[in-house]
Symmetry: C2
Subunit: 319 residues, 2 copies
């Protein structure tokens, strides 16, 4: 049974606890990592024992967050998840916590209500926006470093204030975090103005292999195991690849299919424009997410996976 | 003799005047047009006669600004320029006003002091940021439409809050304008999330044909006459193509060579990172520009043009 609570109640809960582990979602992005790092640094500064855990090794791109990774340095008494919409997103390495999450801090409307307490703000574009208000409510000292962590979440989940989820409050918090010392230029360069060689190779592959369906309203890219073997991209090299074709003239739906480790398993990332609900498409195949950005995992051959998602797309476009 | 004044003084001046023409810079962008439109709509709502003038026809992309273009509908009594750093940027069609500008509202540190009064805020990333504060100081009614005009200037001159010129105040004003009704999603989609089919074709050609030199520190793209004939891009389709490779890992210099109308004439666009002076490279071949973005025109075959610029690049990298 999940109890929904607001930011002030979540702040009171956290202030009472100690020996806290903070869980990120698997295939971590700037929002789950930045928000978790901010909370961890703030709680640690309050004298609590606290560390972060993630299914995956944290990509080196995020080294500057200086995340203290959990390594049995204390006995866990309280489990918090950040930006994790469902238990399946914790990943195998964190499965031991799946039914032990005390508090979930999230911004996904599709949250699976798996935690005892849920602090959910579905109209916030980033978990970092919830986290900023939570730290304020906790009367935490938001140092320049914590401001960097939060600004990371804010810019990575809003495409640097581009996505339609951006609100006046998002700008307000952006302003506050810059005033508190967030390094706007360094962070924007890192996430939006530098492209790794492998990301460039993937973009080239995308432009040469993008498939168009339904009067070109749907663009689909299938990354085969072969091309993944050839390019060997880091997970961060794939950032943005799924949403790129959405910006092409006439494209309402962009789908990226990529292989998961287990043979026959594929991850789909779905990005949509104003006319199509990405979450509904993903949900039809057992996934979830937001209205413009969602995802799911499907078992099958790349051809059956394609067929399955294109059938859902066809239904959505016919409505 | 130019007198520098602050926003409050500029507001008092404008409130006193009537029959006002507002001048934009040539090859107009979202900031000069959005700021001029906002001022024009605000002054008109105050019962004043007011219109906007520009050397060029206003691109249809900006139709939603609903700019009232000056067409002798009143006798001009007061001349205001917006976002125009020097008289040469007015363009031939506005040369009659070159020495008659009463008030210049600008954010370029390089402003040529050509107006009687200069309201210059060089640390503001956009003229629209000056204009917002000016309208507030004039106690103007910032309607949702005026908010759209100002938000247009703000996002186009900051790369949607990406450039290092973005400050906390920029975010604050972004928040205010959204609250006042600026259509964030429509405007961001229009300027940052739509890529024409031809622009996509050019990007694909770029990724498949980019040449790397000097340990990959220099990326060069030569657009042949053949590919230009095949794709037939509009000038706006080429926007950004020259700077794209500059964001690739390890690339300090990005050069785009494209054919001009006359056989054997080529235009070079040069974009550089922090270590190389683009203007020096362009100057060596008879061109000019800014330290990070410059250009020149060269006569020859595409091979001799390449050779000439690569020689200059080699010299620059050896220094």
């Amino acid at each position: 049974m999940t109890t929904k609570i607001d930011i002030n109640a979540a702040a009171r809960l956290l202030l009472e606890k100690d020996n806290i582990i903070i869980l990120c979602h698997k295939n971590p992005d700037g929002d789950t990592l930045g928000s978790a790092a901010a909370l961890c640094h703030a709680l640690t500064a309050m004298g609590k024992k606290c560390a972060v855990a993630c299914h995956n090794r944290i990509p080196s791109k995020y080294d500057y967050l200086e995340i203290p990774v959990y390594d049995n340095q204390f006995d866990v008494e309280y489990v918090v998840s950040v930006d994790v919409a469902g238990v399946n997103l914790l990943g195998d390495n964190l499965m031991e916590y799946a039914h032990k999450v005390d508090l979930c801090i999230d911004h996904h409307g599709s949250n699976g209500n798996y935690a005892n307490y849920l602090c959910l703000y579905a109209d916030y574009p980033a978990a970092a926006q919830v986290m900023y208000e939570l730290l304020v409510a906790m009367n935490a000292d938001i140092t320049p470093h914590i401001a960097d962590c939060l600004y990371t979440g804010l810019i990575t989940d809003t495409g640097c204030f581009k996505y339609s989820s951006t609100t006046p409050l998002t700008h307000e918090i952006g302003a506050r975090l810059m005033e508190l010392g967030a390094q706007h230029t360094m962070l924007v360069e890192r996430f939006f103005m530098s492209k790794s060689r492998k990301a460039v190779q993937l973009e080239k592959f995308m432009l040469n292999n993008l498939e168009y369906y339904f009067d070109d309203r749907c663009a689909l890219l299938a990354l085969t195991r072969e091309v993944m073997m050839e390019i060997q991209p880091d997970p961060t090299d794939l950032d943005g690849l799924s949403s790129m074709p959405r910006n092409f003239e006439g494209v309402d739906i962009s789908i990226l299919i990529r292989p998961l480790k287990e043979e026959g398993n594929y991850k789909l990332s779905i990005r949509t424009g104003e006319t199509v609900d990405a979450c509904a498409l993903a949900s039809a195949l057992g996934g979830g997410g937001h209205i413009r950005a969602a995802g799911c995992e499907v078992v099958g051959s790349i051809e059956t996976v394609k067929k399955a998602i294109l059938k859902e797309v066809e239904n959505a476009l016919c409505q």
